[in-house]
């Protein structure tokens, strides 16, 4: 009579084979997911660089002129991305200047000051702000923020192109990066050691002095990481920004009421054909955008190492 409590060697081998196969499948999916980032760099890079190579033919672009050019005119075939980079940096940092203090203070209020029951409500508000799709912010911005900017311009005696331009982009991005910075602030403020606070209070500091000087200082590493994440989002935000940027042809745009042109709005606006120089050059702008974002990501690590403070991991 066969022993039913044991597997035969044949069964055991089959069970091991199934395990091995499944492990292989899982490994394959893991590696496939990880490869995607490399494939993105490879394919976008290849298509973006080709316009500078001799093989592109007579419409070939000069890399130096592309990087330093101060005008982008499809009609004349002049493509310079220099002023666009400057505009992208101006609008993104402008948005961060408005959004960062508000986001940090909101994070502080939610974690340390808000009544316990309201805490859930406020975190939900932040999460919903993060969940609103870009295109909806775009509709909102082109309907209301442009009107606001137009009014502000009137106070200064300035004329706008229907409110679209730098300042509208800055206000829009300030709203859009707020939840990113705020949720990172919440996480890092909540991670601050209670002992630090108690020490500060015992030394005679008031609760708010403790919050502003001890808690925020201890949480600074996470807060700055949130700032960089927010900047990354501002650099890469496309749909909504394009709806209010106005796409200036020359620049850089210094006057906040003038139309501007960001890397993303350059890539998105007027997209019709899917062949030709005007299409391919958008990939080159994409490479520039990726370099800026990778650069800002490297900055996170640098800042974390330099500032130190409480680690949130």
């Amino acid at each position: 009579m066969p022993d039913k409590t044991r597997f035969s060697s044949k069964q055991r081998k089959r069970r091991q084979a199934v395990d091995r196969t499944m492990r292989g499948v899982f490994l394959f999916c893991g590696i496939l997911s990880a490869l995607m980032i490399l494939l993105i760099f490879y394919f976008v890079g290849q298509k973006g660089i080709q316009v500078f190579l001799p093989s592109y033919g007579e419409k070939r672009q000069n890399l130096w002129n592309f990087l330093t050019g101060m005008s982008w005119r499809q009609d004349r075939g002049v493509y310079g991305v220099g002023f666009i980079v400057i505009n992208t940096l101006i609008t993104s940092f402008g948005a961060a200047v408005i959004s960062f203090p508000l986001a940090v203070l909101t994070g502080l209020y939610i974690v340390k000051l808000a009544p316990k029951r309201m805490r859930v409500v406020f975190t939900t508000v932040i999460e919903l702000l993060a969940a609103i799709p870009s295109v909806v912010y775009g509709v909102f911005a082109s309907g209301s923020i442009t009107g606001l900017v137009n009014t502000i311009a009137g106070w200064f005696g300035q004329i706008t192109a229907g409110g679209v331009g730098s300042l509208s982009v800055i206000f829009l991005l300030a709203i859009m990066i707020f939840p990113t910075i705020c949720s990172m602030s919440i996480v890092s403020i909540a991670a601050v050691d209670r002992q630090l606070e108690l020490g500060s209070l015992a030394l005679g500091a008031t609760p708010m002095q403790t919050n502003m000087k001890v808690v925020l200082t201890a949480a600074r590493s996470g807060i700055f990481a949130g700032l960089i994440l927010g900047l990354g989002r501002a650099f890469g935000e496309a749909t909504a920004v394009t709806m209010v940027a106005g796409n200036a042809m020359i620049g850089p745009t210094i006057n906040p009421f003038d139309p501007t042109r960001t890397l993303t709005s350059t890539m998105l606006a007027g997209l019709k054909e899917t062949t030709g120089l005007d299409y391919d050059i958008r990939f080159s702008a994409g490479i520039v955008l990726m370099i800026i974002i990778v650069g800002s990501n490297l900055l996170i690590h640098q800042i974390r190492r330099r500032i130190g403070g409480v680690t949130n991991e």
């Binding site: 091991q16 199934v18 395990d19 499944m22 492990r23 899982f26 394959f28 999916c29 893991g30 997911s33 990880a34 995607m36 980032i37 494939l39 993105i40 394919f43 976008v44 290849q46 298509k47 203090p101 508000l102 203070l105 909101t106 209020y109 939610i110 000051l113 808000a114 406020f122 939900t124 508000v125 932040i126 919903l128 969940a131 609103i132 799709p133 295109v135 909806v136 509709v139 082109s142 709203i175 707020f178 705020c182 008031t206 609760p207 708010m208 002095q209 994440l229 990354g232 890469g236 496309a238 749909t239 709806m243 993303t264 998105l268 997209l271 990939f283 955008l289 990726m290 974002i293 990501n297």
Partner: protein, 408 residues
Amino acid sequence: MNSRRRIYEATTKGMTIGATGIAVAVLLIVLLYVFRQGIGLLSIDLIRGNYWSENINIAFEEPEAKSFEKPADIPADAHFSSKFGFALADRKDPQGADLMTVVYIDPESPLHTAYSTTAGATQGQHVSIHQEASIQRIQYLNTDGDKKTAGPARRMFSKDTIKALDESAESLVLMYYQTEGGGIWGSIIATLILIGVTLVIVLPVGVAAAIYLNEVAGKNRLTAAIRSSIEMLSGVPSIIFGLMGMAMLFPVTQVFGANGPSILLGALTLAVVLLPVVIRQTEEALIVVPQSLRMGSLALGATQTQTIFRVVLPNALPGILTAALLSISRVIGESAALIYTMSTIISDSPSLLQPATSLAVQIWAITSAEQPNFELASAISILILAMVLVLNITVKVISVRLNRRWSA
């Protein structure tokens, strides 16, 4: 000193409250703005309607005037033709423009003998007149046998048109009308196809990758490299994914027969966008499954595969559901990547290998057109916001329950 400290307390506290108040106000303003702009347009007609209007020419087999009784149950603002047995009324289309529609047709009316004269496959076929159609022109023969034209194309709306017909028309020659446009049904279907195909692709790959990272992988360099690559993927802006879709995934869809942007290409692209989301959510659910469950299963003689599929995954199911819901929410809201991969051509009958727009991309298409239609854009935004907010709140409820389950 004491009063200075009190002032410091009050001002700093006030600043934090003010900042939070601004955040709440911004959310409310955005929601209110979109709601106020769009709610007037939101209707079943808008949701079920086609975006493109169709132009239809019809003539009649029995065009002669008869005499009809005005029925009692036609709308108060309608005008009835006692010679031809139909009623017209003035209406507004979804964009708010004036139009004239047929609201009633008598069973004996010449309008029931209509056949199409529009060039194309349907020419000569019998047509039943769309009740919501916008009548542009009615041509008729008057008592002298001359051809005359009435209708909005001659700046005559329902009252004047009916008056002209009943006073002097002997028979109808032709009628030219447009079916109603400006609807979003095509984009809704395209969005649903997009969600379905994207989930079918991303869920198996993402869950398998999460299982690898959490159940199979050792703590070595390869695992760390995979993890940080996936982490980097989540920092890539969506427009770059759009470029990637055209450069890398387009050849894949060509194998299936696509020759340009298509829903399939959009779905493949979004699958890559969503990989980090699905992997992270699944992993979080796998981590909280107690180690003792795995040990117990293995000790009873189950293989690792059996343990994963029969013990670990069923317990992580709420997490995978969360991943799916978050993915749906992202797909509904995604625009930049899809503008590249699905095009901005609004389609009324979308299919997998043809260009189409999702709801979000339709907003982009109609606001970047030469005459932007912000009212329609806001109406679609209300739908998108409602879906996205409901999905996100559901996710929140599920994750709260999930945490409670194992901590109890």
